[in-house]
Symmetry: C2
Subunit: 233 residues, 2 copies
């Protein structure tokens, strides 16, 4: 057993599938708008709107839905119909109600890890939505701490560690995003294990040189986590 | 000094003005829709939409904005224009960016209380928005714990007390809402002080008989809190 006092796990695309829901919603969004504009331009414009709104809406489906609506109005010069906007709202509601599908290996791995370490769920996004997903996942009982935060930067990690009295050297973060789950954890003095997800939101990508000289584990699957921890100790 | 180990304070309409922003947004919303429908019916319809969406959107401005958009589409039979929808989104963004105005007496009272008790900010709504308001309020340093929750019911209070190792008998909640800040706290075994706000969202109202046999303090202003605490001890 490695000397970690807390293992923190990201949720979206680490424990359960999330990005495919956004990709599917964007596909439908393009169909709704397809008759109005160059299909290829839609994605770029939507991402611009999302980035512009991030500071005020934060992460999560509600802000994403508002950004889709705003993009639809912009791209159609206001000509999008009420029915089209309602379809976009329904896309958001469907995402929020969507069943939670665990990634392969998550159930067994989380169960096994919880026998050895206190586990923390550490995720960003809409508070209620993340709580609902955790409830639907059936994994709730394995986590001794739930932290839903508005953003994941070095300050967030420092404050989470402080709040739970964990020294950074005893804190491991596991997640799929280099930008949110790896780099800021290292900056805060913690350890990070990167478990990439097949598709990644452009916003979570980091330039290759941001990784220069950074030391963290890269695992193919969350299934590899227990063995990696055993080897560390 | 009364025997409380934590004094928890609600934020919206307890520390800073909030309901007037919603009232002003609804006034503008009625103006945007005024040409389409009976002005008096708009408010009732909006509240219906909000209630229906609460379970999936939760509390906060983003869900409120999505509910305004949905109501606008419904009430106009889809005829609301893109420009009208954009105006509604702008109303939401303006609310999210709005400066924080403290209620009279809050600054001095919170400063004074923080000398004697650990203070907890305990509020519901959008995570990022509540964090931003706390930052803008300048009150952040006086709170030793910040709890932003998706709903305030007896389970929420029990879990907050448990998380901070506070016995219910040593927990005081102060807030403007009987539904969110008073009744569930009493149900969880804590003490509550009600400081009413002049206007109240219909959703936060409770029937008179829900208060039968309930014991809690009612203060005119947060300014009265320190004296009430002195008298208790």
């Amino acid at each position: 057993m490695a000397g970690f006092r807390f293992i923190a796990l990201d949720a979206d695309d680490t424990l359960w599938h999330n990005e495919p829901l956004f990709v599917a919603a964007q596909d439908r969004f393009r169909e709704i708008l397809g008759r109005y504009d160059d299909v290829d331009a839609i994605e770029a414009r939507l991402y611009e709107t999302e980035k512009r709104n991030l500071e005020v809406f934060g992460y999560g489906v509600k802000g994403f839905t508002l950004s889709m609506i705003e993009t639809a109005i912009e791209l159609t010069g206001g000509a999008v119909t009420g029915a089209g906007i309602q379809e976009i709202i329904n896309l958001g509601v469907d995402m929020l109600r969507s069943p939670v599908e665990l990634l392969d290996g998550v159930q067994e791995t989380v169960e096994a890890l919880a026998q050895q370490y206190p586990l923390m769920l550490l995720t960003k996004g809409d508070l209620l939505h993340q709580e609902n997903k955790l409830a639907r996942s059936g994994l709730g009982d394995h986590f001794s701490v739930i932290e839903i935060v508005s953003d994941k930067n070095a300050r967030t990690y420092e404050s989470v560690m402080l709040r739970h009295g964990v020294d950074p050297t005893a804190f491991l973060m596991v997640g799929d995003s280099l930008r949110s789950d790896v780099l800021p954890v290292l900056e805060a003095g913690g350890t990070a294990a990167h478990v990439p997800y097949p598709t990644e939101w452009i916003h979570e990508k980091v330039p290759e040189d941001a990784l220069a000289g950074r030391s963290f584990a890269r695992l193919e699957s969350i299934r590899d986590l227990p063995r990696w921890l055993d080897e560390l100790s």
